[in-house]
């Protein structure tokens, strides 16, 4: 049984200019102790799909799904109270904007201890000790004296680390880390990622890592899911994805990496992601795809089998090699 199982998740927003589909028929599954990376263009619905799972979207969002289970329990059937017991404790999230998710009116020590008080059965002294331990784990120097500082007294990177400390405070079974290291320098980023993957190894925590950084993906993820314009377009083990991408978008993304460059000019993907008003009729990638034909432009592709990385494409790449292998 997967730790998390989501099938056919869609999220529609009501906006002043009409309905907008931010997440379109996405499947997500994560096993205990697995690291799944979600990558894709800005605005492709990575954050929104996870916020939908957490129940943190505004009322303008309409969420539909065929399955939404955590440890076999249907999250949609739970009362709000029962759901809050799981979300925040067993499922924790590191949010993309650290500043907006810390309360400016309370010290960081108070905020960490409050999370412990709500979800963990700990006395005051234990909470204090655990808070210091957590700050130390995320590499905040002199943690004891930092407990009494307010978020605005620390740098963006420090706040991001406080957020990370809060997210792991209650030993979650699933941690969703949305761009957890963007405000951090590489030396500290490496330390945080070691911490998270260490927890995943030692405690069997499942980890969903949303990131733009393909280096971070390559070094930390076991499986990668690629999103484009609200859809999941590919899902493969990390090594296979980098070696044999099946979806043309994935292939183009990898080709754009400067470290893969074979000449001074890099391969690019022409055009931009479709928006609310220019959503193509067929394949959403067809206006930018080098392989698009009339069928692509008129008929939306459905995902291929797992031997082809579930690629949402009529003409998946690297298909023959895969069959031979």
């Amino acid at each position: 049984m997967a730790l998390l199982e989501i099938r056919n998740l869609s999220v529609d927003f009501t906006t002043a200019s009409g309905a907008f589909r931010a997440v379109d028929a996405v499947d997500v599954s994560v096993d205990k102790g697995e690291v799944l990376a979600i990558v894709g263009e800005s605005g492709s619905g990575k954050s929104v799909s996870m916020l939908a799972l957490m129940g943190l979207l505004p009322w303008t969002a309409t969420i539909t799904a065929d399955v939404m289970e955590f440890e076999g329990r249907d999250l949609r059937a739970l009362t709000p109270k029962a759901r809050r017991k799981i979300v925040g404790k067993d499922i924790a999230m590191i949010f993309q904007e650290p500043m907006s998710s810390l309360n400016p009116c309370f010290t960081v020590g108070f905020q960490i201890k409050e999370a412990l008080r709500l979800h963990m059965n700990m006395d005051r002294a234990t909470r204090h000790k655990r808070a210091i331990e957590l700050m130390d784990m995320v590499g905040i120097p002199a943690p004891e004296s930092r407990l009494n500082t307010f978020p605005h007294q620390m740098s963006g990177g420090m706040n991001q680390r406080v957020m990370i400390a809060m997210s792991i405070a209650c030993n979650p079974k699933l941690l969703i880390a949305d761009e957890p290291t963007t405000a951090l320098d590489v030396t500290i980023q490496a330390q945080i990622l070691d911490l998270l993957t260490g927890l995943q190894r030692d405690t069997g925590m499942g980890l969903i890592l949303i990131t733009h950084d393909m280096g971070v993906v390559a070094e930390n993820a076991e499986r990668v899911s690629v999103q484009y314009a609200g859809q999941k377009v590919e899902d493969q083990p990390v090594y296979d994805l980098f070696a044999r991408p099946h979806h043309p978008y994935t292939a183009a993304l990898l080709a754009a990496l400067p470290e893969r460059a074979t000449s001074k000019l890099l391969p690019t993907i022409p055009g931009v992601v479709p928006g609310q008003f220019d959503r193509p009729k067929g394949c959403l990638f067809s206006p930018r795809c080098a392989y698009a034909d009339d069928r692509c432009r008129s008929t939306p592709p459905i995902p291929c089998g797992s031997e082809l990385g579930l690629a949402r494409c009529h003409y998946p790449l690297n298909a023959t090699e895969e069959v031979k292998a």
Binding site: P141, T187, H212, E219, Y239, L253
Partner: protein, 332 residues
């Protein structure tokens, strides 16, 4: 292209006084200390280092936004002193990281592009200005109809193209690029990097390229300055720095940079401790509190930047020459 550098910087420093009140002495932030380098036309000098190490401060000095508190530099053969600022201003332009914040939302793209000409080229007629702005729009890969649009109608990558176009309106010799692609998607990043490469080839521009992304630096740079806590700690050609880092900090930085190649065996150097504050620079080598090689001497004495072309500020430098895991592919 001439061999005389277009920028010659000698011991550039910028210190700020902060805090201070009736009974307190102001504290000094040593944002940048004694940076020396040369930049040639048609070449790219990259500046790398951790957040707060003084990269943007250096950018502000070179673009004549702020005056150095110590040292001096020459721009296009002339001293960049305050009295020369007005006449030198057109020689150097800057592009910032944030393609959203750096364009006036109430101005149409055409007006944004023409503005520098209005201010600095009063002799030009309105028709000449418009013609030049339209040419520039085409040069950076935008369409004629974009001329009449407002910034919010553009994607992040398009806005960064507009920012580059605006910076080029006065035909500068030097373009300072402060994290120009950090806010962009990978697919847009490659478009902007290509644009910069093409413009440099076509116009012989010199780039001072600031980035924390070492894979981007490896792709774009000719030479590299590695900064730590306001000071250059290693300088050299891209090949020298990436293939044979000599300063322990450079080595740690390269080893911590994730490489987009799954399964690659890497030896990551783990640093203890934080970047110290530039208000409280440790005596001796500023890297000593985090350095695994630090000796007594390192805490007492500050190492000077030494060497012929590949220069390092360290008493016990690494051997160099041993390719790091992030070494660039041999140039073709």
């Amino acid at each position: 292209m001439s061999d005389t550098p277009v920028v010659i910087a000698e011991n550039l420093s910028r210190h700020y006084e902060v805090g201070g009140g009736m009974f307190r002495k102001p504290q000094v932030v040593r944002a940048l200390s004694e940076a020396s380098f040369t930049l040639h036309l048609g070449k790219t000098l990259a500046v790398v280092g951790e957040s707060g190490c003084g990269k943007s401060t250096l950018a502000r000095l070179i673009t004549l936004i702020e005056e150095p508190t110590g040292g001096q530099f020459q721009l296009n053969g002339r001293g960049a002193t305050r009295e020369n600022w007005a006449s030198l201003r057109t020689d150097v332009q800057i592009v910032f990281q944030d393609p959203y914040g750096s364009l006036n939302p109430r101005q149409k793209i055409g007006a944004i592009l023409e503005e520098p000409l209005k201010i600095n080229r009063p002799e030009m007629s309105a028709a000449e200005r418009t013609a030049k702005a339209r040419d520039m729009l085409r040069l950076v890969g935008l369409r004629p109809e974009h001329f009449e649009r407002y910034p919010h109608m553009f994607s992040g990558g398009q806005r960064q193209r507009i920012a580059v176009a605006r910076a080029l309106m006065l035909d500068p010799k030097v373009l300072v690029l402060d994290e120009p692609v950090s806010a962009l998607d990978l697919s847009i990043q490659s478009q902007i990097l290509n644009l910069l490469t093409e413009l440099q080839e076509r116009m012989g521009l010199a780039y001072l390229f600031i980035s924390h992304d070492l894979s981007v630096v490896k792709h774009m740079a000719d030479d590299v300055i590695v900064m730590y806590l306001g000071r250059p700690v290693e300088t050299g050609s891209k090949e020298e720095i990436f293939a044979g880092p000599r300063h322990p900090y450079t080595k740690a930085l390269l080893s911590a940079t994730p490489v987009a190649e799954p399964g690659l065996e890497k030896q990551r150097i783990k640093l203890a401790g934080e970047l110290p504050s530039p208000m409280n620079v440790p005596p001796g080598c500023a890297f000593a509190p985090r350095c695994w090689k630090a000796q007594d001497r390192c805490h007492a004495e500050r190492p000077l930047l030494e060497g012929a072309t590949h220069r390092t500020a360290c008493f016990f430098p690494e051997a160099g020459g041993t390719p790091s895991p992030a070494a660039p592919k041999p140039a073709t």
